[in-house]
């Protein structure tokens, strides 16, 4: 946020909210979205602008509210499995993993070791894939379509891998309670490693053209600064917090799956503005590539990948509740599942990182930025609306 200026142009702030009179003719109210290329998905920002500057921002969601949490109350545990992945389009695997993990914990199921490795591999691939989509959005939101075209292609290469492994490109529906659905197809690992090489090479090009770009720097530096003291206030997690120098990474802090067997460092930055967040994310992409290679190397080469479940048609899970979290590209992704002992979950709560980032934080950061930067700011927070309105 720009430092409070004593400028008569801006209306006074009370409780962090601008006090303005729309009828004065000095202000214009503009809706950005829900159909807008500069918005990450179907949500909209109600912006009040004075000249080119935003003086008030209000996030509106609900355009794709499908009520997943409510839907799951009517579905058996196994039937929830195809539902959860739809909560987040670019990164569905985290939903699958967390739902499966919560269910397994409540039901007291231990999955085979190889399944854990495969899941980790899948999650890292999902992270990389999601980052590739984000980077295109970040470049595109500042008008650099070239980068976007490249990375979306790379994402498609990753999706090809997912398609071959899981049978689906976007919604993989692969990690279900008990393990995963299938083993690697023959030759898949080699293809994965080849694709990683391509991604790495192009990523070098992207970094050169984007992070060393005069215009990009002019646009991104100083945009939407998150200070370390805001992190807990707004519940900021993931690269948004790490770019501010707050070294928190669930993969390291409370390792899940096999992350404790992998060798990596938490990536941090010094200043969390749009540019700083880009830097962290690009480093994390390299990190993901490295992690995938480590996993391929270290994982057991064979073994079972699925544990027998009770008959899923009448599977009842003992009463109890639990919360599981994982580090997705945007920060902390969590599932809270409460079972009442029946065959359907009583309550599933999805804690998406975008919930805090795109609403409270975005509304705060947008104030006094240029209206043309809204898209760039929004993308730099890396938010996906379906997580907000599960």
């Amino acid at each position: 946020m720009v430092k409070e200026k004593e400028n008569s142009k801006f209306p006074p702030l009370v409780d962090g909210k601008s006090q303005y009179d729309l009828t004065s003719g000095k202000y214009l109210r503009v809706w950005q979205g829900p159909q807008h290329p500069g918005i990450t998905g179907n949500m909209s920002l109600e912006l009040t602008i004075c000249g080119d500057e935003i003086i008030d921002c209000k996030t509106h969601v609900g355009y794709l509210h499908r009520g997943f949490e409510k839907l799951m109350e009517r579905r058996k545990y196994i039937q929830c499995f195809p539902v959860v992945c739809r909560i987040c389009v670019p990164e569905p695997d985290f939903n699958e993993y967390l739902f499966a993990a919560c269910t397994e914990e409540l039901a007291g199921i231990q999955i085979p070791e190889r399944a854990e490795w495969i899941r980790t591999l899948n999650l890292e691939m999902a992270r990389l894939t999601s980052f590739l989509m984000w980077i295109g959005g970040q470049a595109g939101s500042f008008g650099m379509g070239t980068i976007g075209q490249w990375t979306v292609t790379l994402r498609d290469y990753m999706l090809d891998l997912f398609e071959e492994l899981t049978g689906g490109r976007i919604y993989h529906m692969y990690m279900l309670p008990g393990g995963v659905r299938a083993d690697f197809p023959p030759g898949w690992i080699n293809k994965l490693l080849d694709t990683l090489k391509t991604v790495e090479k192009t990523l070098d090009d992207v970094e050169l053209a984007m992070m060393h770009n005069a215009v990009f720097k002019m646009r991104a530096k100083g945009l939407g600064i998150i200070t370390p003291d805001m992190v807990d206030k707004y519940g900021i997690t993931g690269p948004n917090a790490r770019a501010a120098g707050v070294a928190r990474d669930i993969r390291k802090d409370s390792p899940y799956l096999v992350y404790d067997k992998l060798d990596f460092e938490i990536v941090t930055g010094t200043k969390s503005d749009a540019y700083g967040r880009c830097e962290v994310r690009i480093k994390e992409m390299y990190q993901s590539i490295d992690l995938i290679r480590q996993i391929v190397e270290k994982m057991p080469k064979e073994g079972p990948f699925f544990t027998k479940l009770p008959n899923v048609l009448h599977w009842r899970i003992p009463a109890g509740h639990t919360y599981k979290r994982a580090e997705c590209t945007r920060g902390e992704y969590g599932f809270y599942v409460q079972s009442d002992g029946s065959d359907k979950p009583r309550r599933t709560y999805v804690r998406g990182p975008s919930y805090t980032h795109a609403v409270a934080l975005m509304e705060h950061l947008a104030i006094r930025t240029n209206i043309a930067d809204t898209a760039g700011l929004m993308v730099s927070l890396h938010t996906y609306p379906p997580e907000i309105e599960r």
Binding site: G62, D232, Y234, H321, T322
Partner: protein, 178 residues
């Protein structure tokens, strides 16, 4: 659990349950809940509000407000469950502790009808614009009934129960259960 033991001397809290080594749940009374949360945040390092939600226990006529806090030093989660009756629900707001909580409270008011006096933007629409029915996340809101009422089923769909169908075809007149 030292935090629990210390807090229980001061506040009405009970039913500590260890779900995992790094996840505990306990119940707090409605009156003391916000004070407990404040202590956890200020004194015990639970600075991160992971989420705040409601679980509807319709049969018991209770809402379980569930606050999840995380301690980044110890990497430990603490779930604070507050049971309140379902009618005319009001709860103290925690937006002064975490500004982000206002969003949670706004959503909870919309989805469950729990009021948080003083929370900013509480009465603004969150996801449901123009909603007139009862708060939809309550368990007494029947989504199936709502969708049957609101949308048209695709005509021409008809399914058969194998057992009924086989009965009709294979032993229509025979006695079975009566």
């Amino acid at each position: 659990m030292t935090e629990f033991n210390e807090l229980s001397r001061q506040f009405q809290i009970s039913d500590l349950k260890e779900q995992r080594a790094d996840l505990h749940f306990f119940h707090a009374s409605k009156e003391h809940a916000v004070a407990v949360l404040t202590s956890l945040k200020e004194k015990y390092g639970y600075t991160h509000l992971v989420f705040f939600t409601v679980v509807d226990h319709l049969e018991k006529n209770e809402f379980h407000l569930t606050y999840m806090l995380h301690n980044y030093e110890k990497h430990h989660d603490m779930g604070v469950v507050v049971k309140i009756a379902r009618e005319n629900v009001q709860m103290e707001s925690i937006h002064h502790l975490w500004p982000a909580a206002a969003t949670y409270q706004q959503e909870i008011r919309e989805m469950y009808g729990v009021e948080f006096p003083g929370s900013p933007g509480l009465y603004e629409n969150f996801a449901l614009e123009g909603w007139e029915d009862i708060p939809p996340m309550r368990r007494d809101f029947d989504t199936k009934e709502y969708s049957d009422k609101t949308y048209y089923p695709r005509p021409g769909r008809e399914s058969h129960d194998p057992r009924e169908y086989m009965k009709e075809n294979l032993y229509p007149g025979e006695a079975e259960t009566w």
